[in-house]
């Protein structure tokens, strides 16, 4: 009987190993340059990958699971909520909330797709900063201002 949500035994989310090196490193370097901040954490990079992957509507299977991206225990409430909202949208069924593993699989696969897209764009765009800023700005505008 499924009285409670099935908790995951995983401790962290993983990058897609195929694009992790040097994709994540390059992406971090570029985000540091764009933002002028002294650090850019894994969660910021993961969130960006997730958004880009989700926007593409394609999930990329993550075959070998490593715990190297974001520690689940460190997730903030908003991130956790966003992950669950994305899983619901992906499954079109609220009962996905009863299975944490499923939720993390979904976001991990979207993030893998996002990382792949970002790696391609880093290589292709003359100015990655302009491309990214424009994409984020347009999405925000579309969402709020219509």
């Amino acid at each position: 009987m499924s009285e409670e949500t099935r908790k995951t035994t995983r401790t962290a989310l993983s990058w897609d190993q195929e694009f992790k090196e040097p994709g994540v490193k390059d992406l971090r370097a570029l985000l540091l340059q764009i933002s002028g901040a002294s650090t850019v954490g894994n969660i910021e990079i993961f969130r960006l990958c997730l958004a880009i992957g989700y926007e593409s509507g394609i999930k990329r299977p993550v075959p070998s699971r490593a715990s190297d991206a974001v520690r689940i225990g460190d997730l903030k409430e908003t991130d956790s909520a966003l992950f669950r909202i994305i899983a619901i949208d992906d499954e079109k069924n609220g009962e996905v909330l009863l299975d944490e593993n499923k939720i993390y699989d979904v976001v991990e696969q979207y993030a893998a797709q996002g990382l792949m897209i970002l790696c391609q764009e880093m290589a292709r765009q003359p100015s990655f900063a302009d491309w990214l800023n424009s994409k984020l700005f347009k999405s925000l505008k579309r969402q709020v201002a219509g």
Partner: protein, 675 residues
């Protein structure tokens, strides 16, 4: 330090000039003359001797000498300055010469580069004891007459009033860096880094292959970091040089008549460009701070639509809010209590059906609770998005507006520079084109420095991580442990050496500020307080802490006082040499400034080793100003017309130029009507 003698040969109108001060050894020297007699050329000749700053070709090689030399004959332009270096009587002679060959009348060519020699001699020995080679001579000059400080040693009164408006900031910074010996600390830090690196190699050998690999990575990363640092230092130096060149080119434009309006507007436009660039950078930074979080939320927000669909469905199916509490019903079942009026047998068919029903509703209830929570969270996110959009859009509008204004200003600057370069003045045209090129180069360098800084931060992060890995890997080995402590100490000292110049610069700035306050206080009326800001701007405030606007005369005295404060702090008392010390001040202000200068010079000469040389024209040095200055007992010399060749040669004499006594007030003075 005092000037004992200056000899000038074939330099512009100065055919053969000898200002010998050895016998009288005066504190104050006046070199007077009508306009065009070579006062500025005299200053230029000193500038050339010490700083290799050449005037324009037409003011460099003497026309007289060129005209009177046969074709293929050579002419040597030479300036020799003898200095008494200290109170012990040590003497130095700086001599620079440049050879020209006459091709034909009015045409010459340079023969080789200018040659500099410096001879030093201890007066008590009575003879030349050391003759320095050319390279050493450059070193000697760089030590005593660093080029960065040129503008603080040799003044032009006409530009003194705006001395602190433009180029001085960079110069002060350069001077302070030099005084604080920033480069020496940098060398020390590099040396210590090398020691730390050698220790790391030893540790790696002691501990093993893995550590050795980390050590190699660490060495690579440090090497990248050093290169980035060197590149940033070199770029900054180049940037400073380019800015200096640009100032000089701007000065050429400022000096041309007929284009003043364009030049004034150009200055305003350049100021605006600076403001818009600053605003743009600020707006971009603010935009960047917000867009990453709100933009990502914006992309993810459509996912919330499905959440709200699920919530609506749950409401329709009476699952939300959860219909009843499953735990309570399960408890009733366990206690075999009927809740529906029918008799329920534990584990009977009816109970089993009811249990399944409960399970289904429990799922609905658990999901419903989460959906309800997520709905609230989603609404929070939506509301945050609305607020975030307002902020991001505001910053974006600011970027767009500043970029638009910047484009307008940059286009206007190009138009102005184009219009100036259209003027049929080769020098002005080339200066304007050069400014455009320098602007592009400066912009490129600013970008490059900023990118290097970002890369530097990244590599520093890698270095720190590798160092931690290295330290961890080498734990447990006693010999390695000892070396590790030593290497750590070396690195810490290196870091301290790198940061110490920040403190050193601060101290030097404070010393200059204190000295400046004391000196400016002798001539500034009313209470005031000066402050040299972190950006090396000098701010004068009144007793209420408000920024005070200085009069033209006060601005000039500010330049004098600052220059003297700098001499005091660097402990090099090069004479104060000023061309047209009264600049373009009118009669009343001139008298006021004369009083101030006298007060100032009296304070400087009281019991101290100090020499000042002023070059004045007949409207500056009048019988009336002479009265103010008489208490200083100045040594008077003049540059007058050479009777043999009055148009192309000037001669030097002592006292008041006899030509002066033929006109106006000086005539009255010579006739005893003015005492």
């Amino acid at each position: 330090m005092r000037i004992e003698r200056i000899r000038v040969e074939n330099f512009g109108v100065l055919h053969n000039i000898d200002l010998d001060l050895a016998a009288s050894n005066p504190n104050i020297v006046f070199v007077n003359g009508f306009n065009g007699r070579g006062k500025t050329t005299f200053l230029d000749s000193i500038k050339w001797a010490f700083y290799a700053e050449e005037p324009r070709q037409s003011k460099f090689l003497s026309n007289y000498a060129l005209k009177n030399t046969p074709d293929q004959g050579t002419i040597v332009v030479r300036v020799v300055v003898s200095l008494i270096m200290d109170s012990n009587g040590a003497i130095a002679t700086v001599e620079r010469e440049q050879t020209f060959q006459r091709i034909q009348d009015g045409v010459s060519r340079r023969v080789g580069a200018s040659v500099l020699t410096v001879q030093t001699r201890n007066a008590t020995a009575g003879s030349l004891t050391e003759t320095l080679s050319e390279i050493d001579a450059e070193k000697w000059l760089n030590h005593y007459f660093a080029k960065k400080l040129m503008n603080f040693f040799l003044f032009n009164g006409e530009s003194m009033a705006k001395f602190f408006d433009s180029k001085v900031k960079d110069n002060i910074e350069g001077a302070v860096r030099q005084i604080a010996r920033v480069d020496r600390f940098e060398d020390m830090a590099n040396g210590l880094d090398t020691i730390a690196q050698a220790h790391n190699k030893k540790i790696a050998r002691l501990v093993g292959a893995r550590t050795e690999r980390i050590a190699l990575d660490l060495e690579d990363a440090r090497s990248v970091l050093r290169k980035l640092h060197d590149s940033a230092v070199s770029d900054s130096k180049t940037l400073s040089e380019l800015r200096e060149q640009r100032e000089k080119k701007s000065a050429i434009l400022e000096g041309k008549e007929g284009i003043e309006a364009s030049v004034v507007e150009l200055k305003e436009v350049e100021k605006s460009i600076g403001v818009f660039q600053e605003n743009l950078a600020g707006a971009q930074e603010l935009f960047q701070n917000e867009i990453m979080s709100y933009g990502v939320l914006g992309i993810l927000a459509p996912a919330m639509n499905e959440l709200f669909v699920q919530i609506e469905n749950a409401k329709k199916e009476d699952r939300l809010p959860p219909p009843w509490d499953p735990e309570r019903i399960r408890a009733l079942l366990a206690n075999e209590t009927c809740i529906c009026g029918a008799h329920l047998t534990p584990n009977g068919e009816a109970a089993s059906q009811l249990t399944k029903l409960i399970e289904r509703y429990q799922v609905s209830s658990t999901v419903g609770k989460q959906l309800s929570e997520l709905g609230s969270k989603a609404n929070e996110v939506k509301s945050a998005l609305t607020g975030g959009w307002k902020i991001v859009n505001l910053h974006n509008s600011s970027i767009v507006e500043n970029q638009r204004q910047l484009n307008i200003s940059v286009n206007r600057r190009t138009e102005l520079l184009d219009s100036i370069s259209d003027i049929d003045l080769t020098e002005v045209g080339s200066a304007a084109s050069e400014i455009k090129r320098l602007d592009r180069e400066i912009e490129r360098l600013v970008g490059s420095i900023s990118a290097t800084e970002v890369k530097g931060r990244l590599v520093q992060g890698q270095v720190d991580q590798l160092q931690r890995d290295f330290d961890k890997a080498s734990e447990g080995n006693k010999a390695a442990e000892k070396l590790r402590i030593e290497a750590k100490f070396a690195r810490e000292v290196a870091a301290a050496a790198r940061s110490i110049h920040v403190e050193a610069i601060k101290r030097v700035r404070e010393r200059i500020q204190d000295s400046f306050n004391a000196k400016f206080g002798t001539v500034k009326e009313g209470s005031f307080q000066s402050e040299i800001t972190d950006d090396f701007e000098i701010v004068i405030k009144n007793e209420y802490g408000q920024v005070t606007e200085l009069s033209e005369g006060e601005k000039m005295m500010q330049a004098y006082a600052f220059s003297m404060a700098l001499r005091e702090v660097i402990n090099l008392s090069f004479p104060l040499i000023v061309d047209t010390p009264f600049g373009r001040l009118d009669g009343k202000n001139r008298q006021d400034l004369a009083r101030k200068i006298v007060t100032f010079l009296k304070a400087q000469t009281a019991g101290r080793e100090f020499q000042a040389m002023f070059m004045m024209h007949d409207l500056e040095y009048t019988p009336y100003t002479k009265r103010y200055f008489s208490e200083l007992q100045p040594f008077e010399a003049f540059l007058g017309s050479d009777p043999e060749n009055p148009t192309v040669r000037s001669r030097m004499g002592f006292g008041i130029d006899p030509d002066w006594t033929q006109v106006e007030a000086w005539k009255d003075w010579s006739e005893g009507k003015i005492k």
